[in-house]
Symmetry: D2
Subunit: 401 residues, 4 copies
């Protein structure tokens, strides 16, 4: 029962799940183990310590939860808030929409700040709300750092500045699913209270780990939060942290070893080099889009995402057809336009363990597809633009010099 | 960061996670894929159809949830019940205890029927409660089919008979974590409303899938159940089932291919042959325990488990020392005694993709450890007893004749 | 002891060893087995039958020898010839040179027809020699189908025509190392007596199998050939073929399963589709080279190779520097210029399990490297030329429509 | 095309190929690489240095040849001897027989000292021959350290003593295929001139590497040896050793990484601990055989092999039936009796990466099979005898204390 075969490597350019590096695949190619042997707690201890580095926190407490990003969201919310609590949340695309939907279904009182899809979070309105909230009825600001559906990166530093400016005690809960480990993310510096990501994104693992990090303030909030939770309850983890056995229920042995290998690779390259590589990939992609004469779904440069680019197609083209041809003719996986932008955008994910030549193959493929679907692209133009930038900016691979 | 090395294969005899067969490891040794390509829904469709077979249901609706057994419990409860609902639950060991704890934390009104650890669910008291419950205040019977902590298998057929006898409409929710795919389990015949297992048990996969199956009655109940749920909400799955895309959030590609391979192996062997193999393993283990002059924690034959045997040690021995020596001297992983039976029992898991000679190696190892810790075992005695039975009962491997 | 790490996939464009497809890696991810069990002969039988298809022979006898291409050469020669026998051999590049060296060291009387590197075998001289050889002193024509060092494909059909024309009984021994399974190769139609390849080339396996196929005439010759041989003796294989156990010494279990998977993939794609794909890759590469304003080392179109392109660089550039930068800056592996063309050419291998977008990524990378080393390439030009051709010629992936 | 499936792990107890440890499987689970990149020579250098340790030589020169044990034999002979040279060789079983056959086919003048199968090399006759050979017509003593067909280990120290005693300059060529890395082997101390093994034996890798180590005297002999050789010519390797690129033809990338991992495991356990483990396994197996009332094919204790035990069965039993039932009923692979001892012995291989509990499972299985075929074994008796010894002798796993 293998999937339909195509020659060569699948070109995986959805914004997650992303390519798994070979050393990580190797690390996970193993039998199950008893997670109660002395080996697993020993390894877990290093994981919990090292995973904090990708959040850039020294004071946070991380949780490795056997779940997806959706579960990580639920963990962030239910551990810090009580039913009826007011949250401020930004609706700017499909994933922020889904998180808001979750907040509503979990019975929070969600104050939605909506923007056009393609715009970032409207922080002016946030400022107004904070200014007006003398009673501190807002318990949490919930914000997606990088909206994967539209390729929009929000400015978290400004959010923190606003909270500080208004001396507002609201918790800052951040979905970093398509940002952490790829974009510049600074949990401690930005005073993020809960940050979360999923293993299948920039960490370049299989799906299966929701990685959540809680500030001391968030941990404190969890003591009084009244949301019903069991599977997602941080307290169960904390109990086992104290015991030194770490796991309230069975972890995936393979994902633990995989995470160990993934972190090792990231630290070997250097987290800041990883982030710089994503910056290059994002820039190169946008230069190609520009050369093709197409528009970025993201409306302003300040919001450009270095992990995913949503490309607007002309009205006479169905972007779903582009994604379909990528799969059927070129063995490439691109991201669909979702919900409001369905048919209007296709997405190029450029995050995780990926290099420039992989991206250039993708861009060349996109050019051919654009031609396939009747868009008058000049073949090679996007690649040329990207190369012109990259050739000046790719560093030597440090370990190879 | 590999764990401390020991020569040869690790002898994994904890009652889960269990040994992963090579064909399953191979199937999972793969890069991520776009789960929105046509390939994944096509495969998922076969999985959902085939996974019903291991529950022996044709009318149930399965859910493959990226979670653990604990999450599967939560899914079973929150989708069918409302806060305050009365459940009847049996406390007979650590895992039934944890499930009861979860029920309480989820705000159900749990009517606990407690038995001594080593005994099965007290069905006489259940009968009394059902008889007395004219108002049908009992909304669900929650029962662990096989209590992994004590090696006790409960009689589900009798539970169904009692419900039918008293014409009681309570839902029957069954934890089949350490039973399904190993013990005789008949969802339709026994009128089970929700049954669940985890991928790392008899299916012999890594941890990461909670597999839940709901009867039509349970699905109906989910429409009015008021428990708050998002990540575990069946409704999100059902919506995507209708769309034919199947996944409300990102599945683990690797576990899907692994599940496909695992099911293929089970059907190749034949589910009933798989169950018969577990029957042999259980019987052989108990014969060895008897030959060693030790007691089974399980107090009566009717409750004997064919997936895990909890062995009582004499009071002058600490069973944790046995588990420790197994690991440190023999590269074997045995199960600890948990909670009330900590120090008093060690457990031999004999479930999943395992054969008789593997078990005999384990039994020989246990004999040496018993001697190590000062128990006057006759070396070879348990193996002899097990062999005498097995030599008469192991069938030829059908595909090899 | 992992090799120096670079982010993303290594772009492997040496003309062998080539990229291994995931299904083949999976098939080889396994423990050893007893090769004397009934399973291995059963599988071997299918391999021997199916491997003939990639040679396009129904009358040949294949041998799967645990060796490399060098060993396969030795097997071809020592089984068919006796010391002192006259062979005619063409010196056109490094690999034909090495084969000639082997022939001389094995004490054959080698009649070398030399051409400039970049030219094909001089068949006019062959014709003269055949015409003059009334005594049939020439026992074998040894020819490399595709000279990997210079990217030159020889015309085997013409060689056969010449032999037929002169009614010359010489054996036709063909090195198909970088051709079979990628270029059009017709053992029976062309009357090839021994053809050989290595597993790490177009079959896309690891190194370790020399695959040799002998015509009935070659088998007959082996009965009287006096070259000393044991490890490479076909007779030992034939003896075990008759016994139905197939293996005179221990085969690599992993490579057998890998070969099974590799053949399955080739037949799934269709051998002729595989060859057509290589034709596209070769053509696209040459169009890029032309667009860059560079020369192909291969001097005439009739000799162009669809598996490897050797690119001549201007005299002021050291081609080794290109290969070095590919590795150190772009995580790409290109082929060095060897021997006479060292420093003068770099090689792009485009054979095996590879697709067009992978090649386009490589071409984009080469453009950047050319710029790096001071060649005034127009960035994007090669990719544009390749895309213009490919966009019109890539077929839909049949299994995906 | 998977082989016929049986539940659980295959119990692999043939004397090679043996079980591959998981870390080695992981190390080999990788794509091909360019072997001309800087990474492969760097790794090769460590391999060549470290592989000498398993030969216990500091003065030897190792060759990692892409071949099997048969090829390694050929390499040892053709590099050191000339056609017509007199060798003294011991015929004591199937593998020494095959090596003698090879020597004869390579045109050496083989002086065969034959013993009954089950006996070791007759060193008294060797002494006579050496004493009589005043002209030093004997150019090499060829001896199999451990005859895998009969489980006989020859005394190499005595061979060296005899050569020294008679001041005989003959080369000492040793087949260490089923001994090196498992039995005590001391290349330098015993003055061995060529020693060789195969990757699939005690090194616990897949088949594919013939590992040959040559003393300075053997290297010197290779300069004048007139045997025709190309593929197996050490000189080609030495040329590339000097260049620092190491490989005259394409190596298997996977086997190189696998060898690296295998050596790492051996050094982590400690070579002497590895050897001690084999001593335990051999002893335990023989105790079981004795307890079953069966005879060891090996006639005297001094020759007992710690890597393979050949067990004689009573005349009324066909040992092939035992091997067949092991496979068909118990998913176990035992070694057949070969040639003269076909039907009379079955063999238990206990070498490589294996631990005691694995062996005990095997022994329990053998007991059941013996009963299956009508031998009146007392079930459990062999396991009891083995356990009594092992329980007193297995050390703690050092890294785990």
């Amino acid at each position: 029962m293998d999937y339909v075969y195509g020659p060569g490597k699948n070109h995986l350019f959805v914004p997650g799940p992303v390519n798994i590096p070979e050393p990580v695949l190797r690390a996970m190619n193993r039998n199950n183990e008893d997670y109660r042997s002395p080996a697993i707690p020993a390894m877990t201890k290093t994981l919990l310590e090292d995973v904090k580095k990708i959040f850039k926190t020294t004071t946070g407490t991380p949780f490795l939860i056997p779940t997806t990003g959706t579960g990580a969201w639920e963990s962030a919310l239910t551990n810090t808030l009580s039913p009826g609590d007011r949250t401020v949340s930004f609706l700017i695309g499909q994933f922020s929409l889904l998180w808001i939907d979750q907040q509503q279904r979990l019975n929070f009182n969600v104050d939605v700040i909506e923007s056009e899809w393609g715009q970032g979070a409207n922080l002016d309105i946030l400022a107004e709300k904070l200014a007006a909230d003398h009673s501190h009825s807002i318990k949490a600001i919930c914000i997606v750092h990088n909206e994967t559906a539209t390729g929009v990166t929000n400015n978290l530093a400004t959010v923190r500045k606003l909270l500080d400016h208004y001396r507002h005690p609201a918790l800052l809960l951040v979905d970093g699913v398509s940002s952490i480990c790829a974009l510049d993310f600074r949990m401690d510096e930005w005073g993020v209270d809960v940050a979360l990501t999923g293993s299948q994104k920039a960490l370049s693992l299989p799906t299966g780990l929701g990685i959540v990090c809680a500030s001391p303030k968030a941990l404190e909030a969890s003591k009084s939060a009244k949301s019903v939770r069991v599977f997602f309850d941080w307290n169960d983890y904390l109990k086992f942290y104290k015991l030194g056995t770490f796991w309230p229920y069975t972890p995936s042995i393979q994902l633990l070893y995989g995470l160990r290998a993934a972190l090792d690779l990231i630290f070997e390259e250097g987290l800041d080099n990883v982030i710089a590589r994503h910056t290059r990939m994002g820039k190169a992609t946008r230069l190609a889009v520009e050369a093709w004469g197409l528009k970025n779904c993201t409306q302003r440069e300040e919001w450009y995402s270095d992990t995913v680019t949503a490309v607007l197609v002309p009205p006479y083209i169905d972007s779903a057809e582009i994604v379909k041809r990528a799969w059927k003719r070129y063995n490439m996986s691109l991201g669909l336009g979702l919900n409001k932008v369905a048919g209007k955008v296709f997405r190029i994910g450029h995050l995780g363990n990926l290099n420039e030549l992989q991206l250039l193959g993708c861009l060349a493929g996109v050019e051919m597809i654009l031609k396939d679907v009747g868009y008058p692209v000049k073949l090679g133009s996007g690649v040329a633009a990207a190369c012109a930038y990259l050739q000046n900016n790719i560093p030597m691979i440090p370990s190879r010099i």
